[in-house]
Symmetry: C2
Subunit: 274 residues, 2 copies
Amino acid sequence: MNNPNINMATLRVACSNCNLRELCLPLGLSLKDIEHLEELVSTRKRIKRGEALYRAGDKFDALYAIRLGFLKSAVMSSDGREQVTSFHMSGDIVGLDGLASMVYSSDLIALEDTEVCILPFDRLEELSQNMPAMSLHFQRMLSKEIVRQNGVMLLLGSMHAEERLAAFILNLSQRFEQRGYSRSEFVLRMTRAEIGSYLGLKLETVSRVLSRFSHDNLIVVNQKHVQIMDFEGLRNIVSGQVFVTNSPKNATVAIHKADAMAAPSIDSGIPGLR
Amino acid sequence: MNNPNINMATLRVACSNCNLRELCLPLGLSLKDIEHLEELVSTRKRIKRGEALYRAGDKFDALYAIRLGFLKSAVMSSDGREQVTSFHMSGDIVGLDGLASMVYSSDLIALEDTEVCILPFDRLEELSQNMPAMSLHFQRMLSKEIVRQNGVMLLLGSMHAEERLAAFILNLSQRFEQRGYSRSEFVLRMTRAEIGSYLGLKLETVSRVLSRFSHDNLIVVNQKHVQIMDFEGLRNIVSGQVFVTNSPKNATVAIHKADAMAAPSIDSGIPGLR
DNA sequence: CGTTTCGTTGAAGAGTGTCAAGGCCAGTGG
DNA sequence: CCACTGGCCTTGACACTCTTCAACGAAACG
């Protein structure tokens, strides 16, 4: 759009200055390590809303660190149904699925204008060899994604619509908070249909459940704008204790369950997963 | 049980002789590499049916290569619901979820008496540094697991009970075949409830759908024994073209869809995923 | 300002879940 | 060897959640 020269200049990377550093880099890197890294991260790239950063079947040649924006990953079934497998925001690293067979296995689509840092894979490979900390960090990221997906499988496999949506909202809230935004008020970048695909629900169900939450004063919804009014209430729904639609179950039981929930140690980051 | 000395002796590892090598090792390792590897793989371990190799919250200190047997991974929701996230058989590497935070995030339970090779993590780390091929192979395994889980999410998020079970049976069949067993006749090592948990269904639904498949001559079921009679029929169900219960949909459309299905290139190994 | 996409809501129906009863099988102990 | 037990599987009837179909309103876009 603008003069490409100016773009290239302004887009030169500086991981050391990047305020997303804590999100995508391992802790305790030396200055020298970071210099190495800045050689790796060659350039940035901008994707407009609706465009794909890559598509299933494209040759895998890079990972991407999201600087700004919002994207979805999705896979397609043989008969054309789309399944959104995750939503990504600033600080996330995407493209991890491409490593398996050197071909991306999912589509990555920008839900709003997005800017990413390109991490070319061949240089990443070199770097891993010279920098054990980097290699380990990379493996951790992959493993974290596996753990996250375990949480989604739990959600898809054993939760009701209300639990899924409560968990979804709380998870988004948490991620916004980590990035310095409000945890209680944010704008959904995806459509109801995309939320539904991610949660294994139809868009009408998503809309209805959000309305129900709104009616019960758990949240305020206005199209894409969401404000959380009652975190505790949402958490109770995730734990499968309260169903806003039906007669409230035995309150004593609910409290006992809440106690039980306080105990577990591991925080998966996915509401509802122990 | 037996004399532990004898056990230790017979249990000394020999990756070079192991007939599962192609499954768990990267191709093109030098003899020297393999020698290194055999230092890594210290000992084996036996787990009896019903026992856990590890549990969520246990300190992560090793990966395991399954030599013989059958296991399930499962995560638990805060209110006690179990979600089976995968079934593992010989040649699989398990424990990948532990790397993320150095603590396993799932339970790994043997569904039959099982024998595994222990890959202590500290030695794996060393090895990765001296052996780039190993490090890359390891990253690929992690990425493959991510791709597999994408397939499961597709299944859980957008398929009907019959499609899920057809996909499940075909996937098992394929994995048995890869290991030299019959692809058309095998024994399920897991219960209906465990299949249901994995597929996001109740055990009664699993039972009913299997009965329906049996009634339609797609398979023969006798408790845990399954024989596939009609692969094509199962594949059609996965593609969402045929529903055995209902009136057959427009046949022409089905054929068109089948054509569309033939085109895509990537084989995810998960029936139904492009 | 028209067109399109997106979101909400209602009514009816399909697909699974729930509850319950009974059968099959392996293991155990008399 | 047989009866008993407990776990697993099957099947039916009914309830319920979610989907489907449809209509309409609101926002976004060119």
